[in-house]
């Protein structure tokens, strides 16, 4: 019996301890004043508005979001793959003289991905104004860098012996590089790509909440004016579309992987990209976006050295950083700890399927909306921000865990159960244990994402660096904005390093593997 298994299984449950301080703080600030509104919010879920105008504008918002996501997804995949290949050690083996270039690209990509897409959005809004390209660019920048990282890590982890062998036969390096790597690249692109598309939809929805249009804007406006029935119309429609889309992607992926040779796969990938790009752009165009008008730049007056120094003196940076770290810590606890806890508490296949559906839903509610709702019955504090971030990412984690469990071998579970163990402990050791290491590895990656998202949650929740960013932006104080973004970037880069290390640790011990 390997000792590591029960230990890491328990480790998946331990993060849920984060609930204790959070609930204490929330209950301390609790007041019944907002309960009326919360009740109204929940009861509206079963009677969304079917008013023609509402459905029409929700549908239009949804189209804008999907078309924008599609366009930015394709662009970011293409750039990401290119940069990914360019930042592998492998690629530069052919031109060793310039191998520092590869390292340079690899490390400088840490900066674009350290900043959340919404923050990019708020910045580009200042330079490009209200323009659909702001949303596209803001998604493309961090997503390309993220894709590049995944691609280069995966490529560099492959065995390069065949490449050396082919090269020794005297063939051209480039063509051998392509012959060897392409078949390996394609499965990564196909798995990771579809995951990124989903992320893109979530990202564009979030951008909408911050005013860049689409279903996010509809959600935010209806919630802010307390038109809950209308809000639920948007939310249900988004949920439905996401499920359909997911089913469609899964179906076409399994169809393609079963029926098609690698060479054809390559052509199909290319055509999927070109089709998506043209579809996205023409869709946006038909939605009346001036997508072909040249961009006009309006320059900002960059702050002087003195202004930046003054900014340092006026900002309570230390406190803001600590708050941001605490939010990340607690939110990760909730996100990682809840799904395994629920599986142990409510075992069984039927219950798992229900949980799976619930997680899709939680994953869809943008964190700022949760914050607004929680703020109705408690005071703004760290816990509110942590809870709302935790809830969304709990959806992502839970969905992944239940998916994997539903697909996993049941033999260990059956064996343990037939020994006379209870259903709960059989679940703990037979179902959860084989997943734990990879789950924790994924959890480490999630914490990284959560840290980046504190930027946007604070803006609504009134705490942390995110709130200060919003306040400085609305005061048009560029010195402060620069300081906050630089601090954020440093914080997330160190976070990425830390989480990456722990992710690798768990992956090393992992029995099943999933990329993301």
């Amino acid at each position: 019996m390997k000792l590591i298994k029960p230990v890491s299984t328990l480790l998946t449950l331990i993060p849920s301890i984060a609930y204790i301080p959070i609930l204490i703080e929330i209950i301390k600030g609790f007041h019944i004043g907002g309960l009326n509104i919360i009740f109204l919010f929940i009861s509206s879920a079963i009677k969304p508005s079917f008013n023609q105008e509402v459905v029409k504008s929700a549908w239009e918002g949804l189209q804008i979001t999907i078309a924008t996501a599609l366009t930015s997804w394709v662009i970011s995949m293409l750039i990401g793959i290119l940069l990914g290949v360019l930042s592998t050690d492998l690629f530069w083996k052919s031109i060793p003289k310039f191998s520092y270039l590869g390292k340079f690209i690899k490390y400088s990509l840490a900066i674009p991905r350290s900043i959340h897409e919404v923050v990019w959005g708020l910045l580009f809004l200042q330079i490009l104004g209200l323009n659909i390209w702001v949303a596209i660019i803001s998604i493309v920048i961090p997503y390309s860098a993220l894709t590049a990282r995944v691609i280069s890590e995966q490529l560099d982890s492959f065995d390069i012996q065949p490449l050396i062998a082919i090269k020794q036969t005297g063939s051209n390096f480039m063509s051998s590089f392509i012959t060897i790597l392409l078949p390996k690249l394609i499965p990564i692109v196909s798995t990771y790509g579809s995951y990124r598309f989903e992320c893109a939809i979530r990202g564009v929805t979030l951008l909408g909440i911050f005013g860049l249009g689409g279903i996010g804007t509809e959600l935010y406006l209806t919630l802010k004016s307390f038109e809950f029935n209308e809000m639920w119309t948007c939310l249900w429609m988004l949920w439905l579309v996401m499920i359909l889309l997911e089913k469609f992607i899964r179906f076409s992926r399994s169809y393609l992987s079963e029926n098609i040779s690698l060479k054809n796969f390559f052509f199909i990938s290319i055509s999927i990209f070109s089709l998506s790009l043209s579809l996205g752009i023409s869709w946006l165009y038909s939605l009346n976006f001036e997508i072909f008008n040249p961009l006009s730049f309006s320059y900002l007056n960059l702050p002087s050295f003195v202004e930046i120094r003054n900014g340092f003196n006026t900002l309570p940076l230390f406190k803001l950083i600590i708050t941001t770290i605490l939010i990340t810590f607690f939110a990760s606890g909730i996100a990682i700890g809840t799904p395994p806890l629920l599986i142990v508490l409510f075992p069984g296949k039927f219950s798992l399927k229900i949980q799976n559906l619930i997680w899709i839903f939680f994953r869809l509610i943008p964190p700022p909306l949760t914050t607004i709702l929680i703020l109705l019955f408690t005071n703004p504090n760290i816990s509110v921000a942590a809870l709302s971030l935790g809830i969304t990412h709990m959806g992502v984690m839970g969905r992944l865990l239940t998916d994997n469990i539903l697909n996993q071998e049941k033999s260990i579970y059956r064996a343990i159960k037939s020994n006379g163990s209870s259903k709960k402990s059989a679940t703990l050791y037979g179902i959860l244990a084989p997943q734990s290491n990879s789950y924790l590895a994924y959890g480490a990656y999630r914490s990284d994402v959560i840290l980046k998202e504190t930027a946007i949650i604070g803006a609504v929740g009134g705490v942390g660096l995110g709130w200060q960013l919003q306040e400085s932006l609305s005061s048009f104080d560029w010195a402060q904005v620069i300081i906050i973004i630089a601090t954020f970037s440093l914080l997330t880069i160190s976070g990425e390093f830390l989480f990456n290390t722990s992710q690798n640790y768990w992956l090393k011990n992992s029995t099943n593997n999933f990329i993301s």
């Binding site: 004043g33 907002g34 009326n36 005013g211 309006s298 703004p380 048009f476």
Partner: protein, 297 residues
Amino acid sequence: MIKFTKIIIALLSIFNLSNIGSLKAEEILRIGAIPDQNPEHLNRLYKVLSSELSEQLNLQVRYIPVTNYAAAVTAFRTGNLDLVWFGALTGVQARLQSKGSKVIAQRDIDEKFHSIFIANKKSSIQKINNINDLKTLKGKRFTFGSESSTSGRLMPQYFLNKAGVQSKDFKGASPGFSGSHDATLMLVQSGSYEAGALSEEVWKRNLDRGRVDPSKVFVIWKTPSYHNYHWLAQGNLDKKFKKGFTKELTNVFLRFNEKSKKQKQILGLFSTKKFIISKNENYNKIEKIGRKIGKIK
């Protein structure tokens, strides 16, 4: 089968791309407003206004909605909006960032605008007569409107500071920011917050529409008056449209009256009887307060 799929995909791509023609842009007057009220109110209001302006000025007018105050300022600075209905603070922020822009008109009520402080009946807060009694709000759950609102934040915060109440004195060590005047009313009425500050105009309109429940929420104090909302026009409109355009635009607003059915509806939605002329200098005091509170650099 695969070959067929490929051909179809290729054809579709080509068809899609060829479908994208380019459209000739004609000059459009883009108007906007800070989203200080419920979006359905704004959408109704600006739909009628756009159609009336379009008729009067004989050009295409488009209303471009934005989701927060700062975005309206940004859209004005980047030239996405030609004419914006700003609050005093956002107007000054926008004017300082867009050279040559000009305050052209305001409503009669904007010359003497008031904020009001409201409280939930279940809270222990009493009506106050003297500004110094705002101190009773210390330790209460208090909400402003948008962080850039003049009547929902700037002026209330200014008077609170005058009475010796700082932001950190509220319960939870910070006030809430509801985002709009309607939201503030809703939050205080339901009891999510014990007290809040909002524009008197929005309060009155909600009273008229029966959306205020007097058994749950009441006014505790009305601020002294100050200059508020105004139309801010870009400095380049004469160049962009035609000579004397800004003047003509101003006159259209000044001529609005209740004889025309459409204009009457517009004035009604703006809660006013008429528009009057206004100028940049009316907002010097707001600028000073804005700098003091840190919303203007």
